[in-house]
Chain length 737, copies 2
């Protein structure tokens, strides 16, 4: 167990446990109890008692063996992790019991011996990041967070697993639980998030570190399961991670051979390590993590020694189970639900354990007479050492480095400070109109192989490429939309104020829809720039022409979808998007040219989501309202001019962002769209779904009701009736009704 | 060139070209000219003239060398393919000139020497299938189809490239162009489609072939590009293809190092052959296809000899360009846009060629004095041989095998006949209510690792696994939603009457949305079974609870989205879905239990999309209408009962499929939802978007406006106001307005 002492390179004074008083969960503290560790004056005695319980009487020389001491503590702590998981599953009658117990060793070792963090300040900037891509194993993370001293997860919270309002939901959610970095559950997403976190680290290290002051220096660890390995997004993200040489990233693959439908052999015959090697990863197999925890630590050391490759650790599993100290030398591996009597069977993926199994498990680790949710005081004490290490040493050291940095490099420190304090980015919006990238030190992003088409390349900045130009702010995602969005979520949730943007054709938002949803759910303020936003795309035909995408994106809760009509509105959309760092935004832009600036458009109008562009009604109400977005707003204006020449009172309204408009006071909404003017025509070259809300029973929704067609832009627009003449004709019929 | 003669194993009599008279494109024939090959009596002479033109005078012994004869014909034909591509791009001022010229050799060799097909009957069942996953290279396929004698693509059509209404759209569409098997363009989709086509072949071969009568025996070829290789869907599909041992599948990777944004080295560092090997593929590299076409044929032969692995052929490229006969021995490779003076640069991905380049290209192949769209008569004649081979030999032989089969195995022949004549499947719906799988010999499918949750496992049938049980009808997709949908599209478009179903949670339709869209666009009648269809999913929390997905799916043109409320409606949804083989369907089902059969629900009601479930208004109009779907219909019924007890006239309407309801005559729609009853409440536990259409200005849309929450089903329903009491309360406020 020499490896532990190597990693354990810092002095670890024994300190009594200080109960934390500040809760970091977003929920207010409730009447919950924290199981406290009552400091014992005789540490050795406590440990010997625990050993006696688990292993029976031991010879004296064993008891004085330091290595045996450490190994048994770690082993017993893992037993405790596992029993807490079992108890929580049984108590909540929910959860996914399979994965979490199987990875108990990995979870414990990461939190006890590997990761650098401060539970008293879960947002400490230079902490290592942990992502549980196999999010259904959330209990593993909750239990580790609890033992590690994160105030956000109390024993009471473990009992509330999956209950409405708890901070221990069925899958990890960063917005509910301090210590959780990203929201996972949809498989494979976490792998992309982890790549995004590691990208942020590499990028910021290159921009800010100085030889005499290292501010950015942390690692990202991610546990993925078989499901994650099968999902395409994880292959996309892993390919990029290797291309970018993200050596600070370590992926731990829970090779448990089980998914919901059964043994993975029914659908999975790959040599996954060879695949990752082909992608360019350092790959290591840990044959037997349960019996031999040290081999995992050796793998971690190898990962830390890598300078050009991310590391993939396959934690093998194949043999029957146990986890009690007394059979430590028995050959065992990380079989899913290994302890449960459902060992190695897919039934352990979800559901609860049978009571008989629980009795057997308790028997195996000599836990029979203990209450549910028992924590061995020694285990709290062990974890407390890591916490003290993080708090008293790592963060203090970092703060002193920061002070040195501020003194020596005031300009860079200023930029770094802006980045760190995300709220300050609200101030960005003032500057964003002219030179976005220059004004926004955090802006970083790219396109899924459409940088030239999406027009998102930041001129004057490098590509993000390691090892040459990690400070570059242009990310080359290749044709990997899904990974792009997942990586952007990771970058956004790195918490360093980076503002990731991600660009592709609007149609191909389909490829990354789940990641976009997670942006909204997990408060990742990603900026999606989606061009070629209608049938106006032209020649590439219906496979590339979006029709239903705007409707689908508008339906995603919280997401702001803008479809600006011109330069003014585009600036406005950027302004709102950049100002809302907790909300992702979509800016849908046309391929075809639009007017630089239409008369009547404005940034302030965009901020309200909808507003009047033009109206010739004077003191009267208009006879008809034409409502447009994007490239069709200009078309509405043209049709309105025709109708006005015919003596009609016509209002044109831009409805650039539905959600913002819906959030305006009723008076404002009825000022823009007066209920007394029922004759309205909406004009948008996309699905009609949703427009009735604004057009009302008396109006006409002019949209695209079928797929587009290959043809020149003007031809397709004409085919689907998007011409000034046709809109005017529709309006006339309505007026004459 | 001995390899050619090996493959060329059937006698190929010289026959004069017979112009085809039957058009197979769905467009009516127009005033177009077909460049005819005026049969020459002196084949040798024509060839010698062509040789003189391209290579200058040649010694007599060369002219009499059979190998040289064949090689020069093939080489010159490839020149011609390439010049047609160049001419079409210049004429249409559109297209993606890069990929198509680079893969001219591959396209020509496949259509001339490898694939078995009959251009006079593009739907001949036992034809080899070709998929151009790199759909932007559509011109390659159009030119090959033209030269091969497919009536669907005339020279005139090449001139209409990307024009509105042409059968040569910007990406290949099976519904527009006979000879195109699937619709491609969104990258990676074609790889999944090809896996689905190969799956269908392997499955049907196992079910129908007899030792003395082989009915199903064809191969699938697919060209993929760098973009396809990067997309996650292609890795998912390739993993499954290897797992399934689909040895009849050959993937040709156009390793051209170029995507839109530039050289792939900016974002792609994988060893892709090693990756495919890790997945379980036979991998071959063809170093130099342009100089050495034979090496490609050797690779094809290796693919044909494989019995347990699909084959991945990497067609290498690295060196500078040329394609004229006179420099045949010069070292060249398939550089993208190789001939264009834009060789090896990304500028060739799209746009047109510069006129200078075109002049240079024409010069290289001695084409200067030829009109655009020139076809060497010899080339038509060569391709004609393959056509004759397909028509006179392969299809005739197959038909005679079929007659033998019908005589010897009448029962199986009957099943096979039902499968082949897709239209007959309409008859299926009569039987579908009880034992769907038994009644529907074509039903085949599975789930993305949720078979138990989705309840879609076909009992009494095997898993589809090679080599043991390819006749199995349960497909184990693993956690690979995107590939599942793409493969299902391929299976549906195999044209053998297989009815693929694909199941997962409704939320994870996000992962496969683009493939679902392509189902609708390409008339692939896939049946999507999407369970756990609302926040009622419960404990797994918001990452797994769909909110916006129904709205997004309803917006996809043509797709039928059902949300049945009980057993009757589920049967109705299946009936309509199965009866519509050109249209994909979604059946969204709840996780929580619903009533087996609600009073008032009916199959015939589902066929109309919306209908009255109950009404106590007698001869009067109701005061209020409650509109529900799925699990909320029962809730509406409960609330209605409460209101009726309070003396209210209440109608309950099921709106199980919006699109079907929208297609009903106005009278029917107004009978169900009378305009004189403005007080309506829609109740659906999903995004409110789109409901205003049915609820009107005077109604209330009761939906879910934010993400769900982790908690028990009843708790989440209560939190979001989906209780009988709350719906009754909403109705009461509306009634009292």
């Amino acid at each position: 167990m020499a490896v532990f002492s190597l990693l354990f390179h810092l002095p670890q004074p024994f300190l009594p446990h200080k109960p934390n008083t500040k809760r970091l969960s977003i929920k207010p503290p409730t009447h919950r109890t924290r199981a406290r560790f009552h400091a014992s004056n005789d540490y050795r005695l406590s440990w010997q008692n625990e050993l006696k319980r688990s292993d029976g009487p031991l010879p004296k020389e064993k008891l004085e063996d330091e290595d045996f001491f450490r190994a048994t503590i770690d082993r017993r702590a893992v037993d405790n992790v596992r029993m807490l998981i079992v108890d929580a599953v049984q108590h909540a009658k929910a959860g996914h019991p399979g994965m979490a117990p199987g990875m108990a060793e990995v979870g414990y070792l990461l939190y006890r011996h590997v990761m650098r963090y401060n539970p008293k300040n879960p947002r400490w900037f230079n902490r290592d990041r942990f992502v549980l891509s196999a999010g259904h194993g959330c209990l593993l993370q909750y239990v580790c967070l609890h033992l590690a001293g994160f105030e956000s997860v109390q024993l009471e919270d473990l009992k509330q697993l999956c209950k409405l309002g708890s901070c221990t939901p069925g899958h990890p959610e960063n917005i509910l639980t301090a210590g959780v970095e990203v929201t996972t559950g949809p498989l494979g997403q976490g792998v992309a998030n982890a790549v995004g976190l590691a990208l942020a680290e590499a990028h910021l290290a290159a921009r800010f570190n100085k030889p005499d002051a290292i501010l950015v220096d942390h690692r990202t660890y991610c546990i993925m399961g078989d499901g994650c390995a099968m999902e395409g997004i994880s292959n996309e993200a892993a390919s990029l991670a290797a291309h970018w040489k993200l050596n600070e990233l370590t992926l731990i693959y829970d090779d448990n051979h089980n998914t919901i439908d059964g043994d993975t052999k029914i659908c999975f015959s790959e040599n996954i390590s060879a695949r990752f090697e082909a992608l360019g990863w350092n790959t290591i197999t840990v044959e037997n993590i349960h019996e031999d925890m040290e081999s995992f630590m050796v793998a971690i050391r190898s990962a830390h020694n890598e300078t050009r490759r991310p590391t993939f650790i396959k934690a093998r599993s194949s043999l029957p189970p146990t986890f009690c100290l007394s059979v430590l030398r028995q050959i065992v591996k990380t079989l899913i639900g290994r302890l449960s009597g459902k060992e190695g069977t897919y039934k352990a993926h979800h559901g609860t354990f049978e009571e008989d199994d629980v009795r057997r498990m308790r028997g195996k680790v000599k836990w029979e007479d203990r209450e549910p949710f028992h924590v061995i005081p020694m285990v709290y004490r062990e974890m407390q050492k890591r916490a003290e290490h993080g708090e008293n040493l790592l963060e203090q050291k970092w703060k002193s480095a920061l002070r040195h940095y501020q003194a020596m490099y005031p300009q860079e420190a200023e930029d770094f400070n802006i980045l760190l304090h995300v709220d300050a980015s609200r101030g960005y919006s003032e500057k964003c109109l002219n030179e976005l990238a220059k004004a926004l030190p955090g802006l970083i992003g790219g396109s899924a192989d459409l940088a030239s088409s999406n027009k998102v390349y930041l001129k004057g900045y490098d590509d993000f490429q390691l090892p040459e130009t990690p400070q570059g702010r242009n990310i080359r995602y290749g044709v990997r939309e899904h990974a792009m969005a997942g990586i952007s979520n990771g970058t956004a949730l790195h918490g360093s104020g980076l503002i990731p943007f991600a660009a592709t054709f609007l149609t191909f938002s389909d490829y990354m829809k789940n990641s976009m949803r997670l942006s909204a759910l997990s408060h990742a303020g990603v900026l999606y720039i989606l061009t070629h936003d209608s049938i106006g795309l032209g020649e590439d035909g219906p496979t590339h022409q979006p029709v239903e995408q705007l409707a689908g994106l508008r339906a995603i809760p919280r997401l702001l979808v803008f479809r600006p009509a011109d330069g003014n509105e585009t600036a406005g959309a950027y302004k709102v998007a950049i100002s809302n760092r907790d909300v992702p935004s979509v800016i849908a832009l046309s391929r075809q040219k639009v007017a630089a600036n239409l008369e009547g458009t404005s940034i302030s109008g965009v901020e309200k989501g909808g507003y009047i562009i033009s109206d010739n009604s004077g003191n009267e109400l208009p006879e008809i309202i034409l409502i447009g977005t994007g490239s069709e707003l200009c078309l509405c204006e043209g049709s309105a001019e025709t109708l006005r020449r015919e003596g009609r009172r016509v209002r044109v309204v831009s409805l650039v962002c539905w959600r913002l408009f819906d959030g305006q006071p009723r008076e404002y909404r009825e000022f823009v769209l007066p209920p007394k003017v029922p004759k309205r025509v909406s004009v948008e070259a996309g699905s009609p779904i949703g427009w009735r809300e604004y057009v009302g029973d008396g109006g006409v929704v002019h949209g695209v009701r079928d797929f587009g067609a290959s043809g020149a832009c003007l031809d397709t627009f004409k085919k689907f009736g998007f011409t000034e003449e046709n809109v005017a004709r529709i309006a006339r019929s309505l007026l004459e009704e």
